[in-house]
């Protein structure tokens, strides 16, 4: 009984963790999908978002849900900036060369953040109560993060599937030349999707602080980068809402398997949950080499 309580609590927490994972991956997926750019600097943009949330809250008492909007704007601006200054020149270059560029951008951002704000670990508390579900207690901030990520995922889905721009973007992804003769502004959409991808990522940094409101530091992004890569693939690269589902699976496995693995004597179940999450990634990839929602 005790076990079941724990297990169901873990599952609920897994869903919430998954939502955050999904959210932080959507931008990465979008950028990969459209520009075939593997953004190794992903985590640094998350860090920027986290700092925005932190500063807005500490300096002006601005609630994170509002600074998310600001973060989106800042992120989009950063996205356009780095697109025109760096990425634009590499579109024709071999795929991996953009990886180098994003690596450098990531370092650059982290180092600038360190130079400006110092290497301190910061945090803030946005106390908005908590939700008691019996098996577990969840701070409302996390609930907001969950809801926001669903809203954003749905919005992104609708944007992709229902709007003219989203449709055009699919054309750009499939064949540049083909898109061009249809009157689609290919370069414009490249810039736009890079900007939106970065915007989403920076914004997800804000939501991550709803989830983990502490430990905000110039190098905080690294952990998220690796996970975001894996989740992006799990969901089928190039599919932002696939990333969202990939996030759920990853979160569920990570948190949900703890109680079970805890039954094995003499091991560290928490580390094994991470091991299991990656093992499941491998198995899923073998069963479905294009990711969960990926297309052939």
């Amino acid at each position: 009984m005790e076990f079941l309580r724990m297990f169901s609590g873990d599952l609920i927490n897994g869903i919430i963790l998954g939502a955050v994972y999904g959210l932080m991956t959507m931008g990465l997926s979008l950028i990969f999908g459209v520009l075939k750019v593997v953004n190794v600097g992903h985590g640094a943009f998350i860090m920027v978002g986290a700092f925005i949330a932190y500063w807005m809250f500490t300096l002006f008492g601005l609630p994170p849900l509002l600074s998310a909007i600001l973060a989106l704007i800042v992120g989009i601006a950063l996205g356009f900036f780095f697109y025109y200054v760096v990425m634009k020149w590499l579109l024709e270059a071999p795929e991996l060369s953009t990886l180098l560029a994003t690596f450098a951008i990531g370092i650059f951002l982290a180092e600038v953040a360190k130079a400006v704000w110092g290497p301190d670990y910061r945090g803030y508390s946005w106390n908005v109560g908590s939700l008691n579900l019996g098996v577990t207690t969840i701070p409302m901030a996390k609930v907001y993060a969950l809801l926001s990520s669903i809203v954003i995922a749905v919005a992104l889905y609708l944007w992709f599937k229902k709007t003219r721009a989203g449709n055009a973007l699919r054309g750009v992804v499939e064949d540049k030349e083909g898109a061009r003769v249809c009157g689609i502004n290919v370069e414009g959409y490249y810039a736009l999707s890079f900007a939106i991808g970065i915007g989403l990522t920076v914004m997800s940094g804000v939501f991550i602080t709803l989830f983990v409101p502490v430990g905000i530091n110039p190098y905080m992004g690294e952990v998220y980068t690796i996970k975001a890569f894996v989740i992006a693939v799990l969901g089928g690269l190039a599919s932002p809402w696939g990333a969202f589902f990939g996030g759920f699976i990853f979160g569920l496995v990570e948190n949900g398997s703890y109680a079970i693995l805890g039954l094995i004597p003499g091991v560290e179940p928490f580390s094994l949950t991470q091991c299991l999450a990656f093992a499941i990634l491998l198995v899923l990839l073998l069963l479905k080499p294009e990711g969960l929602l990926g297309k052939k």
Partner: protein
């Protein structure tokens, strides 16, 4: 037999020789040279797979990590201490075997995946192995292995110190040369041609008679074992400890990619040039502006890649096509 095609190898070895002499005789330059050679070796080993197949082994560091574990396990096992300096031989063997077994396994399974899916699957392998070691508490779990003392017991304090401060670096030179030789052999044999064909178009290559599965696996295995050797020397022997957190850090894969891409993938001299530039830039910037070197390094990398999208050697190779220099650059 056309000897000309080995000229690039001599260029590479020439560069190594200059580095070696400089490091040995310029005061205080041995360690910087060793660092550069570490980058070169990491790049070369990585390039054997990436350059020839176009597959990105993002989990590359797992093989370096396993290599350093292999060496550490042998050196720290008391039953081997009697071997004296010979202990390094089973150490390298074990490192190679461990990496080889993992590579064969991963190759058989993950090499069916393409593009980014393969890349990320290998990240999964790296993280999986790391968390397994920590979670299942094998090989010291998260505490890792420290070989400083066992090495002294086996080799005596003097030799142990020489191994960690000179011979380990020297071995990195040797591994770099080995990797360069392998690269040039690959470049000029059927194996290499088959790999390049599969890099460019895997399906077409198969129809042309290339057994792509076999070739991919060979390159993967060779690259992984080279990585293991680098890990066993540059990490285990040199720093005398193996902590899982440290030896499975994906940032080293990113370093490898940066080095190879800066230099030029699929070329022999690319990783050498890339490693040189990366090492020298980091070293000098770090000396000049401690704490700000990365801030300056980042724009440098961006400029290099914009100017040389196919890497410095890649672009150079194109420039010298049809010229006299051509046969020296590959």
């Amino acid at each position: 037999m056309n000897k000309g095609k080995y000229y690039p190898l001599f260029v590479a070895i020439g560069i190594f020789l200059v580095l070696f002499i400089f490091g040995k005789f310029a005061q205080g330059m041995w360690e910087p040279v060793a660092l550069i050679m570490f980058y070169v070796a990491v790049g070369e080993a990585f390039n054997v797979f990436l350059g020839f197949t176009g597959y990105v082994n993002f989990g590359y560091v797992v093989f370096m990590g396993l290599g350093s574990y292999g060496m550490a396990l042998v050196v720290s096992s008391s039953s081997m201490a009697g071997l004296g300096p010979w202990i390094l031989i089973p150490g390298f063997l074990f490192a190679a075997i461990m990496a080889g077994i993992l590579a064969a396994g991963v190759g058989a399974i993950a090499l069916r995946l393409r593009g980014a899916y393969f890349a990320i699957a290998t990240i999964g392998v790296n993280q999986g192995v790391k968390f397994f070691i920590e979670g299942a508490k094998i090989w010291g779990g998260s505490e890792g292995i420290i070989i400083s003392k066992p090495l002294k017991v086996a080799l005596g304090p003097h030799l142990a110190n020489a191994v960690t401060t000179f011979w380990a670096d020297f071995l990195v030179f040797m591994i770099a040369i080995l990797a360069a030789v392998i690269t040039i052999v690959f470049l000029h044999t059927r194996l290499g041609y088959g790999l390049i064909a599969l890099r460019e178009d895997e399906d077409a290559a198969r129809v042309m008679g290339v057994n792509t599965t076999k070739y991919k696996n060979i390159a993967f295995l060779v690259s992984s074992i080279l990585a293991a050797l680098v890990g066993a020397t540059a990490w285990c022997l040199k720093t005398t400890y193996v902590f899982p957190d440290d030896v499975f850090a994906l940032s080293y894969t990113v370093d490898a990619i940066v080095i190879v891409m800066m230099g030029g993938t699929g070329t022999l001299l690319g990783p050498v040039v890339g490693g040189l530039i990366y090492g020298i830039l980091k070293y000098w910037l770090g000396i000049l502006l401690p704490g700000f070197q990365l801030l300056i390094l980042a724009p440098f990398i961006i400029i290099i890649i914009i100017l040389f999208p196919e890497g410095i050697v890649g672009v150079l190779k194109k420039r010298v096509r049809g010229k006299k220099l051509e046969k020296f650059i590959a």
